[in-house]
């Protein structure tokens, strides 16, 4: 079973690689830094006997990402499972980012995800089987004064996966989308948060356990579903005063 993970070198992507290697998936790992990929691939081979291929590419540019993936997607074994746990945020994403800073944010969180899915989708549809798994953020529930571009990209991603699910509904390709709460990664490291963080390994186990199921948007951990339901209902007069 051939599985492509874009954003595989750290956090949820790395945990997914381990969980899937333990289940004998043949993996193609994509991340920016060759050193991280090589270390992870070596570990997966030695620890799980996994078949692993690595592609170093920067998701800040969808064009260069697709170029790096090109040979693998056209010549290699067809991709059956596509995991897209990539994301990037900035502490200065407060509405003052220059286009040069905002565009990579939009690309990593949205543009490159769409580019990879669009490239892989025809073959998966033709095969009538496979999984496409996207990862959003609770930041997309309702916009606020921080993570402005990031939240917009993740909201767009939710819409994209909603459409994708509709597009693949009768095809045999399953589309899953997880709105992640706080996860113990570099993105949340050192932040004082209101609720506990989930471990990437736990997230990965939940995702892999429900692979092959037709699932729409789900919250992980599930208790974030309460915030997902209530926060949009909060009157603007109250919401505008919130500091978070």
């Amino acid at each position: 079973m051939t599985t492509l993970i874009v954003g595989a070198s750290a956090g949820v992507g790395r945990a997914l690689a381990r969980a899937l290697a333990a289940r004998s998936h043949h993996l193609t790992l994509v991340a920016r830094d060759r050193r991280d990929l090589d270390a992870e691939a070596a570990n997966l081979r030695h620890s799980f006997g996994a078949t692993v291929e690595c592609i170093a590419a920067d998701a800040a540019s969808p064009e260069s990402l697709l170029q790096a993936l090109g040979a693998r997607l056209s010549d290699g074994e067809p991709i059956r499972n596509l995991f897209l746990p990539l994301g990037i945020s900035r502490t200065d994403d407060d509405g003052t980012l220059s286009p040069a800073a905002a565009v990579p944010l939009l690309n990593v969180n949205l543009g490159s995800v769409m580019a990879v899915v669009d490239t892989c989708l025809p073959a998966m549809m033709a095969a009538g089987a496979g999984n496409i798994v996207g990862f959003g953020s609770i930041a997309a529930i309702r916009g606020r004064r921080t993570n402005i571009v990031y939240s917009a990209a993740k909201r767009g991603l939710e819409s994209y996966f909603e459409s994708l699910r509709h597009r693949t509904a009768t095809s045999g390709v399953r589309t899953q989308f997880y709105r992640l709460g706080y996860v113990a990664t570099q993105q949340s490291f050192g932040k004082k948060l209101l609720l506990p963080m989930a471990r990437p390994e736990w997230i990965a186990e939940q995702v892999v356990r429900h692979l092959d199921q037709d699932r729409g948007l789900r919250h992980l951990p599930a208790f974030w579903g309460i915030a997902g339901a209530l926060l949009p209902l909060l009157p603007w007069s109250i919401y505008r005063r919130l500091e978070f």
Binding site: S9, A10, G11, R14, D33, R35, D36, A39, E40, A42, N43, H46, S47, G87, I88, S89, R90, T91, D92, T185, Q186, Q187, F189, G190, K191
Partner: protein, 455 residues
């Protein structure tokens, strides 16, 4: 991923209260937890930092008031494995437990490792820890083939006995002061069995225990002694010597190694009783019960490899019983001809200061001493006592006895160890300082331990 800055160590910072495992030192510190190799880029504008493995050092070796603690736990991978040699190359954040599981599947093991699987390989190298038979296996450096060390001024540097040998030797047992150990090439050894037969020899005192250690060390895979120092009169120091050997049994025993689970161990345990449960009244009872329990065991008795390699696993609550103040571990190597005098002195000071000893244990050490490593010839003797008002005076008296007898304390086990004792008992202290100074003139790596000891 977050926005990066050029100053090393760059990335997200967390403020945490870090504590030495013995509870003696607690400091509000800055912590980083990198998970990508991009973190290890040379930088001319570095802050003070100190690497941190599992954070289980008894002394404050992995944190300090003015240093960023760089946690390497995310670097926990097996990078290369050559079973025919055998050599395994790992990232330094991998735990002993994880590596043990991997090696056990290939019928290999590291002969030198401390008693809990949660400890990191990087920590083992930085403290040059010993195992259960130092006399046969040496210390951790003996199984280290090479190290990849990061220093912001030098970048990633290969260290071995032939490449940068001075820095290699100062890094093994260098307490993180030469840089961040990122990768280590280790030499495991073939397992000569898949279970362990443990023989318990009752001894009347610690001196007889030392004599038996000398006799049993050559023919045992593990050997150490335990003694009851809460008894008075002729029973003082009675105990037993444990000698263990690998034996071949069946595949069921093998399975227990490859599936071993490592219990959590932390310097910041959330469930600590408000006062010490180990005191002058409870300790004699507990020691008595422990001695009797060991005596009732059949001998030899069969044990699994995980139980024998990691005897502290499953006994994590022992450390919590000392209460919020924590405990002291006093571990020294004493010349053979001074051991009897040391024991007499310890006994005298216990009686004089009303000290309750929770644990007394000994091992045999052989070989030469070098730099700041806990190594050399003699009897390695360890005491655990509760940290209280009397304990400081007691340990100060033991320090003087150790210096007087030509002994050497274990730097990593004692968060209180004064600089004067270090300098009086480690003749190569200045040579270590010189190597580190030449390697790192701006001294980018520092910790509470290095500040306290003037390293």
């Amino acid at each position: 991923m977050t926005a990066e800055s050029a100053r090393w160590p760059a990335g997200a910072i967390s403020r945490r209260h870090l504590r030495s495992f013995d509870g003696g030192v607690g400091i509000e510190c800055e912590v980083q937890c990198p998970d990508r190799y991009a973190f290890f880029e040379p930088s001319g504008t570095a802050r003070h930092a100190i690497p941190r493995g599992a954070g289980l050092s008894y002394s404050a070796a992995s944190f300090g008031a003015d240093a960023v603690s760089v946690e390497i736990g995310a670097f926990d991978r097996i990078l290369a494995f050559e079973p025919a040699v055998p050599i395994v190359e790992v990232e330094a954040g991998i735990t002993l437990g994880a590596l043990f599981r991997f090696l056990a599947a290939h019928r290999l093991y590291l002969p030198v490792q401390p008693g809990h699987g949660a400890i990191s390989i990087g920590g083992c190298i930085a403290a040059d820890v010993h195992g259960k038979n130092q006399a046969r296996d040496g210390t951790f450096i003996n199984q280290v083939e090479a190290i990849r060390l990061f220093h912001p001024d030098h970048g990633m540097v290969e260290l071995s006995r032939t490449q940068n040998p001075d820095v290699f030797h100062a890094t093994c047992g260098g307490y993180g002061l030469t840089g961040v150990i990122v990768v280590a090439r280790l030499r495991p050894r073939p397992m000569t069995g898949d279970a362990v037969d443990i023989t318990t020899h009752i001894v009347p005192d610690a001196l007889e225990g030392a004599r038996l250690l000398r006799h049993l060390a050559r023919e045992s895979d593990f050997v150490y002694s335990w003694h009851d120092f809460t008894r008075t009169g002729r029973g003082f120091g009675r105990g037993y010597v444990v000698a263990a050997r690998f034996v071949t049994t069946d595949t069921a025993s093998r399975g227990s190694s490859t599936s071993m689970k490592v219990p959590k161990l932390s310097a910041d345990s959330p469930r600590v009783p408000p006062i010490s449960a180990l005191n002058r009244w409870t300790m004699p009872l507990l020691n008595f019960a422990y001695f009797q329990a060991q005596r009732r065991h059949s001998s030899p008795r069969r044990s699994t490899l995980p139980q024998s390699m990691f005897p502290v696993q499953g006994s994590e609550s022992y450390f919590r019983l000392f209460g919020p103040a924590g405990f002291h571990e006093y571990q020294v190597i004493l010349p053979h001809d001074g051991f009897a005098e040391f024991l007499a002195g310890v006994r005298r000071e216990i009686a004089r200061k009303g000290i309750a000893v929770a644990l007394a244990s000994a091992k045999l050490f052989v070989g030469a001493h070098d730099l700041l490593r806990f190594s050399g010839e003699g009897i390695c003797f360890a005491l655990n006592i509760p940290r209280n008002q009397r304990s400081a005076d007691f340990l100060a008296a033991l320090d003087q006895m150790t210096i007087g007898l030509g002994g050497r304390p274990n730097i990593i086990k004692d968060s209180r160890l004064p600089r004067s004792v270090l300098e009086a008992s480690f003749p190569e202290c200045d040579r270590f300082r010189g190597i580190v100074q030449r390697w790192d003139p701006s001294r980018r790596f520092r910790s509470e331990l290095s500040s306290r000891l003037g390293l």
